[in-house]
Symmetry: C2
Amino acid sequence: MINRQYLLAKRPKGLPEKNTWKYTESPVTELQDGEMLIENHYVSLDPAMRGWINETRSYIAPVGIGEVMRAGTVGQVIQTKGNTKFEQGAFVTGWGGVQDYTLSSGDGFYQIDASKVGLPTFIGTLGIPGMTAYFGILEVGEIKKGDVVLVSGAAGAVGSVVGQIAKIKGCKVIGIAGGKHKCDYLINELGFDAAIDYKNESVRKAIKRECPTGIDVYFDNVGGEILDTALMFLRMHARVVICGAISQYNEMTAKGPNNYLSLLVNRASMKGMVVLDYAKDYHKAMLQMSEWMGEGKLKGKEDVYHGMDQFYETFLRLFSGEKIGKLVLKIKQ
Amino acid sequence: MINRQYLLAKRPKGLPEKNTWKYTESPVTELQDGEMLIENHYVSLDPAMRGWINETRSYIAPVGIGEVMRAGTVGQVIQTKGNTKFEQGAFVTGWGGVQDYTLSSGDGFYQIDASKVGLPTFIGTLGIPGMTAYFGILEVGEIKKGDVVLVSGAAGAVGSVVGQIAKIKGCKVIGIAGGKHKCDYLINELGFDAAIDYKNESVRKAIKRECPTGIDVYFDNVGGEILDTALMFLRMHARVVICGAISQYNEMTAKGPNNYLSLLVNRASMKGMVVLDYAKDYHKAMLQMSEWMGEGKLKGKEDVYHGMDQFYETFLRLFSGEKIGKLVLKIKQ
């Protein structure tokens, strides 16, 4: 049984090159008592991965040089030894890493019920991106009925769920995404009220057009110019949720929002969030999200690429924007 | 009776030139029924004045071209006609403007008790700057005992009160100011735990030295590089109060805080405030502040310049930093 792995080989500057990771193959080692062997079917690709390979500690320790690249996974327990947390055959999700097999005591893994939705959903809408959206827009954004909600990265794994939850809660929702295809998807498939195509129109003019009375909540996944422009349109007591900054992750120096004094003028707040803080409430959120999915109010979409050898090329899609919904790599052959 | 006035003559770009205002002299007009004539003794000079003369509406309408320059004042009612809000002889504070005499119905003016503290205190520690400090650090900063509080513009009218209130509440307080004289004042006169002289040392190294465990609350009056540096030292769940940005007011484009992603990593918030929102609670705050002053726990300091003809030169001190405490112009001859 051969385990294919991507190990972190060096710390990248800017957009990671292919040799940032080293591909290896090695036999799976013997299980210790209490351990399980998990066969990973799907690997989650998330913007946060870029931060984890920097040297500086962020909200979580960096991946060490020579270590398996950290990634969310969904897979199946195929061997157990002794008394284990999950039974053989159980489907589980957790931090399996970019590899075929994970040896684990089960810490940090959760069993999932794969009878109603597909496995990739558990690293997408019912996984970390979905949890990020749920707690970000409800607990940090504190949306209420009638709010005007603007979301960037709106066709992405987090943004698409943020917008749909805001619609469920009775908000007016405007999404920012790149390209006509994504914008059509937001309106026609997900029920957004409007979409702004930042690649083909002035974001400033478009926000003015779509949010003539301003923005109550801006949920930011991208940073840079779009964040700066959104700040110009805050209403009184607006909330800006800083969830990510995909446009800045490969820059040597991030660009700050020059219009931050809009926070003063409008008595607004800008607040950062990290989904891990809400771990104790994931279960409750998953139940609610599953219910919404069952009722057809919340749709998940995964953009699935195939083959362990496609890891690097698929990773790059996080930054090129060439994906729609949750980016996933299917590695089980 | 001749009224000397400074009228706004044009909208400045960058640091205002002298001809931004036009000096005029004209006779005081006849009182209408219900009106009072207030003789202004002291004019308050505040960083916010720079924003009021921009064309764009901020949290308050701009001063119009040809209008008397807006300014807080403290003065005395010297004539009344008919049934008026205050009696002749009363001392009052309000938006009297940069002029000797203000004709007013009394709207927006408050009577003050000048028996215990000097008149300038009512446009300083017991006036708008004091109210800004009080509500900013307590309601927006939400300080609690043991917090590490960093204040910029710490020797100024707002910052000096912020730091003293934080000390009263049991916080560790570090102030940032320019020059040894101001830094000594913070420690020796106001009881700050430490002071950082941004003109003569690296703010980054100094924060690291004085706040080895990081910052719980950063109260920002200055913006620019100092804000950016402070963000690097936020603790988990830190609060950044955006009160002002004196370093940016004369810039054509403000500089945003590049380190804003520290908000994300540390689940921190950055919140803007405008003191006018707390007007209904000013009275309560003034009582509390007066009590602290009586007990010697809170000290006010006014830097008083003399003569209406010194308006422009005194105004410039807001930006050159050549003042300590509350900047005031005494205009009563």
